[in-house]
Symmetry: C2
Subunit: 419 residues, 2 copies
Amino acid sequence: MTTELSVRERALAAREASRALATATRGVKDAALHAMADALAKAETAVLEANADDVARAETAGTHAGLVDRLRLTPTRVEQMVDGLRALAGLADPVGDVVRGWTTAQGVRIQQVRVPFSVVGIIYEARPNVTADAAGIALKSGNAVLLRGSSSAAASNAAVVEALRAGVVDAGLPADVVQLVPGPREVTAELMAARGLVDVLIPRGGADLIETVVRNSVVPVIETGVGNCHLYVDAGADLETATAILLNAKVQRPSVCNAVETLLVHADAAADFLPTALARLAEAGVVLHVDERTRPHAGDLATVAVTEQDWATEYHALEIAVGVVDDLDAAIDHIRRWSTGHSETIVTDSTAAAGRFTAEIDAAAVLVNASSRFVDGGEFGFGAEIGISTQKLHARGPMALPEMTSTKYVITGTGQTRA
Amino acid sequence: MTTELSVRERALAAREASRALATATRGVKDAALHAMADALAKAETAVLEANADDVARAETAGTHAGLVDRLRLTPTRVEQMVDGLRALAGLADPVGDVVRGWTTAQGVRIQQVRVPFSVVGIIYEARPNVTADAAGIALKSGNAVLLRGSSSAAASNAAVVEALRAGVVDAGLPADVVQLVPGPREVTAELMAARGLVDVLIPRGGADLIETVVRNSVVPVIETGVGNCHLYVDAGADLETATAILLNAKVQRPSVCNAVETLLVHADAAADFLPTALARLAEAGVVLHVDERTRPHAGDLATVAVTEQDWATEYHALEIAVGVVDDLDAAIDHIRRWSTGHSETIVTDSTAAAGRFTAEIDAAAVLVNASSRFVDGGEFGFGAEIGISTQKLHARGPMALPEMTSTKYVITGTGQTRA
């Protein structure tokens, strides 16, 4: 039995280890990512065995099948984790990027340069693949990482982290740049209190987890991912385009944060658009929560009366709330009231409506005539994603490697003093 | 007697008012800044009378003379506030700047565009000039502002805000884009709890105020300004350069956050550098807190033995802590232990030492052969400054208009859906 280290001890070890990582070249970091991938591949059996224990424990505890599925690792999922680490080695290094630079009238040179945060904490739920993904992204961006996974995945996470640390050491970096933070619930509270030791906390998981971290942490937090996303079909919009975008955004992968949860239709488009659109949704198995103005266009389709609660709900499932609005202003008002500021879409042929919608809707992403499913680090071409920020400070929208850094001003003179 | 509005009511009014401001053109915002300046100039007598009341109240209460001086407005100080508003009108508008943009393989156009936060809260201490400065910077960056000044400046702040609001209305914008938040201490707590209504809080003032806000706010905070800044003189440094930078950084304006508080000298430079440097500091009236290795170089000069507490102290006064270190590593270790991450300086002729110092010191600004007094929005050429951020999230170093904005992805397609 080893004695558990406190969060403070782990954070201090991470800070010390981060010194070597912060000044490591891209070559060293990429070699470490490949070594982590190699070590994880080699540890596949151990990882799967540990995971089988976690899964058995969850099943004995009567855990919901969906959660057990998220917890479960397979050879394919381990391979994806390994491939993800290798892919990170192929991405550009954000550290050292000169964001801007200039020379003052006195000849002092000023450069704003990207630097790592130093120590990043990730608090996440049952998916053990997050362990490898987050460790890889942190390492590539020059940050030591404290991984606080859920207790249900404790054995899996421990096996993954043991392999990753072995890889890190093989590459000549200190093992403590990657640390798991095990222990009881109070440990999460300690992590949220570790201001000055941990530079930023990123919660990844459901709305409750994120809310808890945001409300209780004195360490700065980057909030990710609750998406109550809307699609507004304007008068005069191309209705085939609108239907294609609606089905893609609702049906293609309903469990994700960039899926559409509410459809709003301009009153003038309702009669032409809704009968077909609702039928297509129903065919795809989508439950229709409709308002009174929508219901007459639903014909024989089964519908449920929409409630206030529906407007606020991120279904994460094959369900949608549907409403008819008088005009663009009413659509904007509805979205301002219920949006979580993730991704909001208009389908329109009007440049004026597109301009107003993109200017007046306050969200991480506003889309014109494209599916909200594009709001994703992969689709953006970022190559890696730690989450989608729905806050306005530091990073908003898909967060990739540059968003995992801070900046520093490097100022060089030849003896200048201020007048 | 008017009924006091709650913080929630004010924040909701600010959010509503911010809609007009967020989409206002630069022309409208600049006209508003000039109208605010005009209205403030016209209200000079009323502002000075209100300020005289605040000053009399402070003096009756036996307030420290330095604090009374910071509270006091003069015709010159009012003129500076007026000029500051007009100067903001001359600066570029950050809102609408395209930070980056690209087109995906499917032909979807993505642009990352600067947008206002919406509602910004400023919590500040007795200087009433902050009222006009902060309101101007918020307006120019498209944000509604909630100004929480100190009760000691209540009358002055009320008079200034009354004038500013009149100017805003003259320019056709809603008055509630600028609001004062008066009332008892609990009001500050309400402001710190207004998550979702207030997008960011910026405390401006002493370390205690900043610490209180950082620890208690669930609204995201941008931390400004505590500066325990170090100057390290390397072996082989040009000693005249080192002396000039030392005097400038310590003596020119000791009360500010970018002044130097600790001098560290390489052991090999001590005998040549310290006797003259210490004498020049003493001549300038600087109290010398020296370690045992420095003392032999002080000759007849009066010195005080340095304590651990001194290494941690931001004197804000003509005092300095002085230590001799074995080498660059020892200097870096000392700075890593005691720095508040504001501005750290090396004077050196060695490119290797300069490279290591700038890479390994974790601060908003690292300087080579230049005075830390340059770390300032004005000296950087920003034209306006809301404060100097010492945190790593969102903004680090001098914060100007772009740092008062967030971004939004505007995504435009022609009907694309995700495969």
